[in-house]
């Protein structure tokens, strides 16, 4: 079994699985049980100034499910901790003392005034916590009070607050980013300028999960009304992965440590975040759906993966996929593939036919006896048939070797790499010197 010990900003934890700042890390009782279950670290539920906020007394979560009620996406309108600062600080102190080998990060959100940060930071340091995370992400409730994503959406504020934190504390500082912006690199760069030691992302995405068609109100509904909430869980992973990749491959942000968050549900999700440059991951919805025990699958899965690949540590594959994240214009246009249907695996459902015939390139023939075959002279290798086929590996994309003829274009496949920037159809193409 591989050793999963990771060091993030010099903070050691037995594995890269931290619980994100949220209900699972809301109090001592939870966190102790989480550590017993095996979690490597926690980011404590966001602390604020006293008097504490109050939460709604009606439903605060909404969800999207698959047919068998598998939870695919969760939405919430919960605020930061609704318990007093003192209570939280005392609990953090006790927990850290009893679990010195686990990471304990304290998430913070106080008003945009330096004094507020000057006041809270020494109190946090006194708990023995390993670092702070600045919650610039919460998209509901707190943002209406000029905190959370209201800060996270203005790079100048991020920079300013981050600088206050760095000037008033020696603790490692993680800035948690909101995805509710157009270019994630801007707030990340601001955090870096302000002196952040790392960024974590994503926080939740503005969302309305559903509309009650009898009440004509968003769900969850409280006294006939609903407010947008923050979306998280498996559904947000693709968005989070892209944002992580944007930061990881930005030359200016090179080397800025990332803690990956958003839809991590299995070891594989975590490994994907890590391959895209995250030093560790944080998990909320998976724990809220299945309980703390899920971490055991994450640990065994990641460990098997490391063993399989021959990696000695998690560190070894951090960012391995980053160099292969490219812009569209640099993709090789001389790479030509065709769909191939494995007739032994085919169950003749005809979904590939319907999809290709109705919405793609009319490149699949339906033959007598429900036999489906790809027409190489029409197939553009779009991959839609692969995506809609219910049988794994039944349809695959097979690359044409250089020298073979692409029946669709009648041209011989060229061995060299050529992309859009030099393509004759590109008005702005860089012409090779005559």
């Amino acid at each position: 079994m591989a050793d999963l010990t990771t060091e993030f900003l010099g903070i050691k934890s037995p594995n890269p699985f931290w619980l994100a700042s949220a209900p699972p890390t809301d109090k001592e009782y939870n966190v102790r049980r989480a550590f017993e279950a095996g979690w490597g670290g926690v980011v404590w539920k966001t602390l604020g100034e006293d008097p504490p906020v109050v939460n709604v007394n009606g439903p605060r979560y909404g969800a999207i499910w698959g047919a068998d009620r598998r939870l695919l996406g969760l939405n919430n309108i919960e605020l930061i901790t609704d318990r007093s600062l003192q209570t939280n600080l005392e609990e953090i102190t006790r927990v850290k003392k009893d679990y010195p080998d686990r990471a304990v990060i304290v998430s913070l959100m106080v008003p945009c005034e330096e004094q507020a940060w000057k006041t809270i930071l020494p109190l946090v340091e006194a708990t023995g916590a390993d670092g702070v995370e600045l919650n610039f992400g919460c998209p509901h409730g707190m943002s209406e009070r000029g905190m959370g994503s209201a800060v996270g959406q203005v790079p100048e504020y991020i920079e300013m607050v981050t600088r206050w934190v760095k000037e008033n504390s020696s603790l490692p500082c993680i800035v948690k980013l909101t995805p509710n912006i157009t270019d994630i690199r801007k707030p990340a760069a601001a955090a870096k300028r302000g002196g952040a030691d790392a960024v974590s992302l994503i926080n939740t995405i503005n969302s309305i999960t559903s509309v009650n068609l009898d009440l004509f109100a968003p769900e969850p509904t409280i006294d006939g009304k609903g407010a947008h909430g923050g979306y998280c869980g498996p559904a947000v992973k693709p968005i989070a992965l892209n944002m992580v990749a944007e930061i990881a491959r930005d030359p200016e942000l090179q080397g800025l440590p990332i803690s990956g968050i958003g839809g991590v549900t299995t070891w594989k999700d975590a490994a994907e975040f890590i391959a895209l440059g995250c030093g560790n991951v944080q998990v909320c919805t998976a724990a809220m759906t299945y309980g703390f025990k899920v971490v055991q699958e994450m640990i065994s899965g990641l460990s098997d993966y490391l063993d399989d690949k021959g990696f000695a540590s998690v560190e070894e594959f951090v960012g391995r996929a980053v160099p292969n994240v490219s812009d569209w214009q640099h993709l090789n246009l001389n790479y030509i593939a065709k769909a191939r249907i494995d007739q032994d695996l085919c169950i003749s459902c005809g979904r590939c036919f319907a999809a290709c015939e109705d919405t793609s390139h009319q490149a699949i023939a339906m033959k007598p006896g429900r036999v489906f075959e790809v027409k190489d002279d029409e197939c553009v290798a779009c991959n839609l048939c692969v995506n809609v086929c219910p049988v794994e590996d039944c349809i695959t994309m097979v690359q044409l070797e250089p020298g073979q003829v692409d029946e669709r274009t009648g041209k011989v496949v060229q061995p060299e790499y050529a992309n859009w920037t030099t393509h004759p159809n590109n008005p702005g193409a860089v012409k090779a010197a005559e």
Binding site: D68, R69, S348, C349, P390
Partner: protein, 440 residues
Amino acid sequence: MAGNVFAEGVSAGRLDSEELLRNFGDLHPPLDDHEALVAADRCYFCHDAPCMEACPTSIDIPLFIRQIATGTPDAAAKTIFNQNILGGMCARVCPTEQLCEEVCVREVAEHKPVEIGRLQRYATDGLMAKGQHPFTRGEPTGKRIAVVGAGPAGLSCAHRLAMKGHDVVLYDARPKAGGLNEYGIAAYKTVEGFAQAEVDWLLKIGGITVENEKALGRDITLDGLKSDYDAVFLGLGLGGVNALGLDGEDREGMAPATDFIAELRQAPDLGALPVGRDVVVIGGGMTAIDAAVQSKLLGALNVTLVYRRGRDRMNASVFEQDLAASKGVRIITNASPVAVHGNGAVREVEFEYTDNDLKPTGQRFRVPADQVFKAIGQTLTGEGLPEIQDRKIKVSETGRTSLDGVWAGGDCASGGDDLTVTAVAEGRDAAEDIHAALMG
């Protein structure tokens, strides 16, 4: 176990009422909402789906399942009823393992088809429970049509005709409408009076007058109907039964399986229905299986089903055979009856083993029996019917007989399997043809 299961002879009350209730409960319990969603999610929404082609009534199965999956089961029910107005009964009695589910791509791939039958029941039950009838009659056409036989074929034909605006008189020899839905189908497939409830629901379309206990050849004649109505549809089913042709065939305790089943279906109290301790059923089709299983469920101690050819030649599906075996019915194949023994009432049936070509082997054995059910096929009965072909009324694709203005469908007509769903399809198609013929 009640005390008198061992009682010899044919006697009532072998099991207590609780056990009977359990035995004759729903064979396939209905899906609840969540189960239906999960079952529906397994459908791949195949292009030009094989299941649809395998359904004799061509229900748009992928569409109705998708309608269930998206939370609109009533729309699903309408999709079903559009093609098959007895979709509720068919969902219960269709041998889906030989029809839609047999060709489901998931059956082919993983031997676990989408549960089409149960999903169909889920959708149709839901709409029917609301008491809603999803169709309205067209403008009155002034045409009058006689439908003889209120089984699946006649009901389906009558409904389609009424929908088109024609006036229909539906004659049936029996006291209740429904045909074999009411008098034949196994009790555990159509519990809680579903057959009559379905007939009542179907008749809500309006324009159909039911005349029970009016038999063709006794109370009415084909010539009379032809002159009184614009068209006639015959859905007579198969009223007669084949005989074994043995001495002692009419000994006490010997009966056609269909009579026993009809009696069972009509019995107000199953505990009062007598059944033998040792029951022998002769035959290899659905009727034989149903008679055997229901004897067993009534409390018969030993039930033996004997079929003259091999297992693979049995008309009853593998599912039905397995059902019988699981209920404790002993199945003997490759044996033909040669004699019925007894002193007054039947005591034993003697069989001889036969090879697959029915050649006797000379090896004989006897099976104790105090009740014997014959289920070796039903036949068309009646005189003055249109031209007969292979013992059934000869019909065209759309049900036209040799007589002008007379259509036929269901078990009594040539072509198609003897199944509820086939009868529904034939009745419906004949109605469409009658409509086209009358309206020009």
